[in-house]
């Protein structure tokens, strides 16, 4: 593989968990809920995926990851939707809770030497024909099968959001819950379901880290991806296709380090690690005025 192909492959690999998490968060935010607890869903997904994949089956592993993510989302939903507690504070606490809980459980169950435990990992599956497209083929179509699931979910979410009554109801809820309710939309139900969907996607993102990439669990291995995913949602302007593109761009920024390492440039690696975050900040400033968040994002009116 050429250095450029390595770079592209790395971009897609980094983008895959971010894409799952950001897509789920997009749906949640379009319903008016910002879930900073996404980080917690990802780490729980990673842990749940790790435990479930211990059964020997990759797909049971992903099911476990998804279930763990949904469980985290349920806790978030109980406080943020049922009790209408502040979403940001709830989300912060949820992230803290599950980062701590997974680390504690991991040490208790697997001990300090748990890193030696291995689980079955998902190898890459070459899609016939597509993977032989020059330059882009291998990067996009010689990936783990879970990546293809993401490719499929992106257009489905987009179609659902813009071409069904339910998608319209979701967007209306995020813009103006009172109006949505008055028009006969079950605003709370939409918010709950979209937060659970976001949790499931966050869980799968964690599963990807463990099952398709690292092959083992490590404390705090989500490494801020939940927060990055939330930034990606803004960069993608709350549109599923835009969010997918933003995830890929972020992945590319992260993968630059492989590219430059391959070229043998003597630049400190920390600068490359920091680069995606710097670019995200610049991107957020750059789309100022063009990005319009759902009008009721983060708050619920006093009277509905």
């Amino acid at each position: 593989m050429s250095a450029f192909e390595t770079f592209l492959e790395g971009a897609v690999r980094t983008a895959t968990p971010l894409g799952f998490a950001a897509l789920g968060e997009t749906v949640a935010e379009r319903s008016g809920i910002i879930n900073i607890g996404l980080e917690g869903a990802i780490i729980a997904g990673a842990f749940g995926g790790f435990v479930a994949a211990g059964s020997g089956s990759i797909w049971i592993g992903f099911a476990g990851a998804m279930t763990a993510g949904i469980a985290v989302a349920l806790v978030f939903a109980f406080f943020a939707i049922q009790m209408r507690a502040d979403q940001i504070i709830t989300g912060t606490a949820i992230s803290l809770l599950f980062l701590g809980l997974t680390a504690t459980l991991y040490q208790q169950v697997y001990g300090a030497t748990g890193a030696a435990l291995t689980i079955p990992t998902m190898g890459s599956t070459d899609l016939p024909l597509l993977s032989s497209i020059p330059v882009f083929g291998r990067a996009l179509f010689a990936q783990p099968a879970i990546t293809y699931l993401l490719y499929a979910i992106i257009p489905i979410v987009w179609w659902w959001m813009y071409h069904t009554h339910e998608g319209l109801g979701l967007r209306a809820t995020g813009e103006d819950p009172r109006a949505a309710v008055a028009a006969g939309v079950h605003a709370r139900r939409f918010q709950l379901l979209s937060v659970l969907f976001g949790g499931a996607m966050g869980g799968i993102a964690g599963g990807v880290l463990v099952i398709a990439q690292a092959g083992s669990f490590a404390e705090g291995m989500s490494a801020g991806r939940g927060f990055i995913a939330i930034a990606i949602v803004v960069l993608g302007r709350w549109h599923p296709l835009g969010v997918a593109a933003a995830a890929l761009i972020f992945g590319a920024a992260s993968a630059l380090q492989y590219f430059f390492q391959a070229l043998g440039w003597p630049v400190p690696y920390q600068l490359f690690l920091a680069l995606p975050y710097v670019l995200t900040l610049c991107g957020l400033a750059g789309i100022a005025g063009k990005a319009v968040a759902p009008a009721s994002l983060g708050r619920w009116p006093d009277q509905v």
Binding site: I34, I88, I89, A93, L96, L97, G224, Q270, L284
Partner: protein, 303 residues
Amino acid sequence: MGAELALFADSLVRSTPLIIAGLAVALAFRGGVFNIGAEGQLLVGAIAATTVSLAGSDALGRFIVVVSLISAALAGAVWAGIAAELRRRFHVLEIISTIMLNFIAIYLVSFLVRGPLQESTHIYPQTESLAASARLPLLIPDTRLHMGFAVAVAIAALLSWVFRKTAAGFRIRATGASPRAALTAGRIDISKTSFLVFLFSGALAGIAGGIEVTGVTFALYENLSPGYGYTAIAVALIAGLSPLGIIGSGIFFGVLETGAIALQREFGVPSSLASVVEAAFILGALALAAMKGRRISGFTAAR
């Protein structure tokens, strides 16, 4: 000089950055600024304090500590200022920008201690140790408890006074509680108020980092902060954003974390359990507030 005293002193040492960063968070939240970047601001404060201490300890003598803490405050303010300017000019949500800046600060520390600021043997990823004159004096001799704790208590008292008694503190509270009413009924320049609140919040977090370096670690290294800036959010929230309450919640969390470390050492209980307890406290506080019909809110002035 018993083990209890040492453990107690250690707890207060641990609580010092939590109190100061907690005050930074409370100042921001009370002013309607959702600064969750205390961690990053604390780290750049630590960088600034280390750099100034190492460079100027010969020239400045005893004043070096004061100078290095002031530079820590300035560095924290500048770091927060990036997010403040992004918010003011481009309406970038500070929730997102401060988290990004936290990551950048972590990599910045990593770069510095493995690059330009690395100690002279180039073996360990850390800076040289601070000269004795550049270190904070001790509060209780023969313990690790340093003057920083007294500074933390003093800042809490000052902030409490500012909120209750001064026109500026009232403007901050009004802006945070209801930006629209502050603007319309109070004719307060809310954009300027929240910008300044952001800077001062960053400055406080920066001081927390400076005190950690000059009082505890005496050098800069990776993982200097075990997430003080994030725990500070819990510290501030559980105290209901009250500055004097933060002294209590900061000490409580200091005891909790010191105890957790001791438990891990003695009995092998994972110290990460401390963050589970902290999170449970935040959620408990939220549930209590929700049941009383009051709302703890951090999103009021975000846009």
